[in-house]
């Protein structure tokens, strides 16, 4: 099934009792192709998390339509019919370990699949598979999720989403608060899932290294609008735009820009990783 995501002039806001926030999403148009790996970046309050939430109806659009594969979400859509969409769009929240609740890791991972009508046996099989996918020992399945370390909890939470067998994986800062190694492992895991299973991955991140290393596409959000959607290379190469959105560069590119300033001329192409940079430096004969 082609799992394209399309947003057509989607606007949304939050309402707390009588108080309504200004538009957190403001006529957003977006087209995420099937099987892509997209990073969403932007400053706090730019609407990144809201963009993710609107994809599975946790935040209902006030205007416009969200298309997810064969389904669509529009204002006033019946809440019950959202289940189909939520099954397809696996959503990993920020600090997902805070949602763990069951007595055992296995039961927690099975929670999602069983809610979506998978039999208990099948859910168990999926749990075993999911826990391997996130790089944990199946022996952990009988432990209490509260006895695990922070990194392990995070992976169990992600396994709980993977066990739902979603077609699209949506993550809000999956690496936040983890140590560098743990963070890298999570990112590698996501990239592997994307490559091996063809999962469409959409993730919010603040880490430009992750963007440089993994993202095929980048979405830049500012004040509830999508201001850029294109390749990471093009974005990081455009110093003017980068400056106007006040975005950070990956380390290698930061170094390159400083070097170019010192040298007084530009290197042949923008480099996103250290490897690329060293190749270019050799190429132009500086090293």
């Amino acid at each position: 099934m082609v799992m394209q995501i399309k947003l057509d002039k989607v606007s949304a806001d939050y309402q707390f009792g009588p108080v309504r926030t200004p538009k957190v999403l403001n006529e957003v148009n977006l087209n995420i192709p099937d099987g892509s790996f997209t990073a969403v970046i932007g400053h706090t309050g730019a609407g990144k998390s809201s963009l993710l939430k609107v994809l599975n109806g946790l935040l209902m659009p006030k205007e416009g339509t969200v298309f997810v594969g064969p389904h669509s979400i529009f204002p006033g859509k019946d809440q019950k019919s959202l289940k189909e969409i939520r099954k397809m769009v696996g959503m990993v929240f920020q600090f997902p370990e805070s949602q763990l609740f069951a007595e055992t890791v296995e039961k927690d991972i099975c929670f999602g699949p069983i809610n979506f009508g998978v039999s208990e046996e099948e859910a168990r099989i999926r749990a075993k598979e999911a826990i391997r996918q996130v790089g944990l020992e199946p022996s952990l399945l009988d432990r209490s999720p509260f006895s695990l370390s922070g990194g392990q909890k995070r992976r169990v939470a992600i396994a709980g989403i993977l066990a739902m067998a979603p077609d699209i994986l949506v993550l809000d800062e999956p690496g936040a608060g983890l140590d560098p190694d743990g963070k890298e492992e999570i990112m590698d895991l996501l990239y592997r899932l994307h490559k091996e299973k063809g999962l469409t991955v959409l993730l919010v991140t603040h880490d430009m290294e992750d963007v440089a290393k993994f993202a095929e596409n980048v979405v830049v959000m500012e004040k509830g609008k999508v201001v850029y959607h294109g390749s990471a290379r093009e974005l990081f190469g455009d110093e003017e735009k980068m400056k106007s959105w006040n975005l950070d560069y990956p380390e290698a590119r930061k170094f390159q820009i400083l070097l170019e300033k010192k040298l007084g001329y530009q290197l042949p192409r923008p480099c996103l990783t250290l490897e690329e940079l060293s190749d270019v430096l050799i190429e132009v004969g500086l090293v």
Binding site: K87, G90, P96, F101, G112
Partner: protein, 273 residues
């Protein structure tokens, strides 16, 4: 969850907003007692006018106030129904065993209903125009005399303000966890009561563990910054009692006087009600 208005602050800069929290707290409490003085049609009508006047002064729309009454309407109707059914006296319209619908019952029911609604409205005015933390300061002030009896008033008020301080966090977190479980296919508010309660386990369990963790962190943070429960404390937020607060107290006194006056007038001139 967004429906309950009691305990929700509504920012603004009206006369009522600017009053001292202590005065508002005392005024709100006295109002509860004052409503019992409204036991004649005239005094009741006057109290209604007073209530609407206070609501108007707070510059919060009436719609919001009545939304605050709505969640409690069943409780009110229940009490009123009991009052109507079990009070006898005056002309009796209907009788069946111990159940009677009488003139006195109906009148009493109406009074009780009015008192209930007025109390809710006025206390809502207090909570909507006073920052929760100012309210705890006011409670602390009112409890101070209990120190003579060695009641740990300072600790109680610290606990209160911490509890109130974390209500918004708790709401946020509940919302977040509910969202996370919804994304995993959980459905809330459907099925019979038992199913609905069961559906909340995946929300409350993480909520409790997270709260306990946070409480521990907070206790540590307070301790490393030298918090000593037994030491005397000063307050960062200073309360100022000004002329208008004294005036507002006078208004309450006058209200009491007027109600008593109206009651005696009704007694003398209107024998019917």
């Amino acid at each position: 969850m967004n429906k309950l208005l009691l305990g929700r602050f509504f920012p603004g800069n009206s006369v009522i907003h600017r009053l001292d929290a202590r005065g508002k707290l005392l005024g709100g409490i006295s109002f509860i007692f004052i409503t019992f003085l409204a036991n004649h049609l005239l005094s009741l009508a006057f109290l209604w006018i007073f209530t609407f006047f206070i609501m108007k002064l707070s510059e919060v729309s009436f719609k919001i106030y009545f939304r605050g009454v709505r969640p409690l309407i069943w409780l009110i109707l229940f009490t009123v129904t009991l009052q109507i059914l079990f009070t006898a006296g005056g002309t009796i319209y209907f009788e069946w065993g111990p159940i009677t619908i009488s003139q006195f019952g109906l009148v009493n029911g109406f009074y009780i209903f009015s008192r209930f609604v007025m109390i809710i409205l006025v206390t809502t005015v207090v909570t909507m125009t006073t920052k929760p933390l100012e309210l705890t300061d006011a409670i602390y002030f009112c409890l101070k005399p209990l120190k003579i009896f060695r009641v740990p008033v300072e600790q109680i008020s610290m606990m209160l303000s911490i509890a109130i301080r974390f209500i918004p966090n708790l709401f946020d977190e509940t919302q977040k966890i509910m969202d996370a479980q919804k994304a995993r296919g959980a459905v809330f508010g459907e099925g019979n009561l038992f199913q609905q309660m069961k559906a909340l386990v995946p929300v409350f369990l993480p909520l409790f563990t997270n709260s306990l963790n946070r409480a521990e962190d907070l206790a540590d943070a307070m301790e490393v910054r030298g918090y000593q429960p037994s030491n005397p404390r000063t307050s960062f937020r200073q309360m100022h009692w000004s002329l208008r607060d004294t005036l507002s107290m006078l208004v309450i006194l006058m209200l009491t006087g007027i109600l008593i006056l109206l009651n005696s007038i009704s007694l003398h001139f209107l024998h019917i009600l």
